[in-house]
Symmetry: C2
Subunit: 348 residues, 2 copies
């Protein structure tokens, strides 16, 4: 058993489904120590972290006092508060000013230059000045449609075109996801929802496309996205919603990237409830047209929730040892399981 | 167009099928410069490198004078002379003493500690003293049954067991490979060949197993390997060999790794000519039993020759920027295509 002062100290910032999931996994890892938990939601502020994540009672209470939380002197902050760069930039800056590394699952942080090169450069500059590492990760963006694709191009001597497709089932998700994907709407409502920005589809295509482009040295000069309703022919039902035939079961989101006018990457991510109701199967698919051609299938798809929790947790040791600055998954060594509960030992 | 002195200078050492293939790919890459070519085989010494690899004539002649070749001041050596640590260690030391990084496809160098921790430590020590990087890579070991598996464990919060299977077709290969896999022998001759060490199956299981174990922090305390003949029921034919029914079409090589008495990794690599003759299909398969479970298939398999050539070439920039010492694929950022001929530009 290692002594406490050798264990990296972690501040959990944001305790929604993802943040709580990470806290739960890290709690069982004897190689690290959660030292503080921050969330602004009154419903959980003051609650015991252990109770919140289904573990024994701890000395850690969820607090909304961010500055106070940093008295715990964390080595690293796991930030799970928002999807967007503009919403997490000030949180990241607070963490860096308190000399902590930052690992976030904010989708746009997987390649933040795609959302705002100004904000990304500002984070990079501060991270380097503080000698700390900032990384955005997650299952998608972060792995399936970018890191995994990039790794596969490593077995090629040439690549002409990349196709990526992720087919998943939204059945486990709640009302917020149903709304952002337009589940349960009529086709007309879907169209209006896309126009108004209420139906957004997948957040992360641009990040994955530009991360691949940057890493392979491809100039991506145009990205075209479209969102279509997936209209069900049969009744589909989840604990949260029932969708009758003729209504929208989900959103088929596509994105294409062009270089010098030629399509070089094509992504398709149909997100719907119960695709199996119409004989659909779920999976992650990558097709590289190149030398050699590569055709990969992961069936069923890597689940989004567990996958994102796992990547965030598993990248902790790599971020702690990483170079300073704002990094992407392509800058760090390949991901790997951090701690194996089944074998009850740790790399630390 | 960049000026020459900015382009990394490469010495090709070993110009068999793999070395020549790498030279050919690198020759078309404007971001690097091949400055010397070494091979000891009298049949090609003195020949023009360009002619040898099907390119225009160059000023580079294949030489057997190793010390002289280093007058070209290479930044990095691509070493493709042997599969075994004991056979490449002195070549690596020569390169390091001449202040060059080393990238080799010697199978045992993918995780050289598995073959000889003494020699591996000696290389690591010299590399660090010289401030240079040494890396072993290739498709297998190096990618399919190790790096790719390790990357997939990154989406898991727990892993209980890993299964890897690579099914390939030896039809494109020549007499040497036929001999080392026992193709064309009788079942009795196969058994004797395994006993005498003439039939070796796959070189690299131990490297992949221990690379995974080291990276995940698993103590691998036992490895069990077995080789069985794949006896064909139908006639199978390649340009090099014809195998009649009842004879051996290839070698089914299996390896299992145990930790604390429990099987944690199981590999299977049947190597045969024309598996499709009996309805078999080729592919790379990974099954992780864990949370979440992950089931991956790449069909057909990533071809061994092109894949190994590609990985060696593609890891060049990562090795040039890598930390000093003897590294593995798990120590460096994820592989990625170095240069894209189809898009005619480079990351340099």
């Amino acid at each position: 058993m290692e002594i406490d002062c050798d264990r990296p100290r972690i501040l959990m910032w944001g305790l929604g489904a993802m943040g709580s999931g990470m806290a739960s996994v890290l709690w069982d890892n004897p190689g690290v120590k959660i030292v503080a938990a921050v969330d602004k939601r009154p419903s959980i502020v003051g609650k015991d972290l252990g109770e919140l994540i289904g573990k024994p009672t701890t000395s850690i209470k969820v607090t909304s006092d961010i500055q106070g939380a940093f008295n715990s002197k964390p080595d690293i902050v796991l930030l799970s508060t928002s999807s967007f760069v503009k919403d997490v930039v000030s949180d990241i800056e607070i963490a860096l000013k308190h000399h902590a590394h930052v690992l976030t699952i904010a989708e746009e942080m997987a390649y933040p230059w795609a959302a705002s090169s100004e904000l990304a450069d500002r984070i990079d500059c501060l991270a380097k000045r503080q000698g700390k590492t900032v990384l955005g990760t997650g299952i998608n963006p972060g792995f399936v449609l970018d890191s995994l694709i990039i790794a596969l191009t490593g077995v090629c001597t040439d690549v002409k075109h990349i196709k990526g497709k992720r087919v998943n089932d939204l059945a486990p998700f709640g009302p917020t996801v149903m709304q952002t994907q337009g589940v349960g709407t009529t086709p007309e409502e879907f169209t209006k929802g896309v126009e108004s920005g209420e139906i957004v589809g997948h957040v992360g295509f641009k990040q994955s496309l530009f991360l691949i482009g940057k890493t392979l040295g491809w100039d991506i000069d145009q990205v075209v996205e479209d969102l279509d309703p997936i209209i069900t022919k049969v009744k589909r039902q989840t604990p949260y919603i029932t969708v009758e035939p003729g209504k929208v079961a989900g959103c088929r989101h596509r994105a294409k990237a062009y270089s010098k006018g030629e399509e070089v990457i094509c992504f398709e991510h149909p997100q719907q409830i119960c695709p199996q109701a119409e004989g659909g199967k779920t999976g992650d698919y990558i097709t590289i047209t190149g030398n050699p051609p590569v055709s990969l299938a992961i069936e069923p798809e890597i689940p989004g929730g567990t996958g994102t929790i796992a990547l965030a947790v598993n990248m902790v040791p790599l971020v702690l040892k990483g170079p300073s600055g704002l990094l992407t998954m392509a800058d760090l060594p390949i991901p790997r399981l951090f701690y194996t509960p089944s074998l009850s030992k740790t790399r630390w």
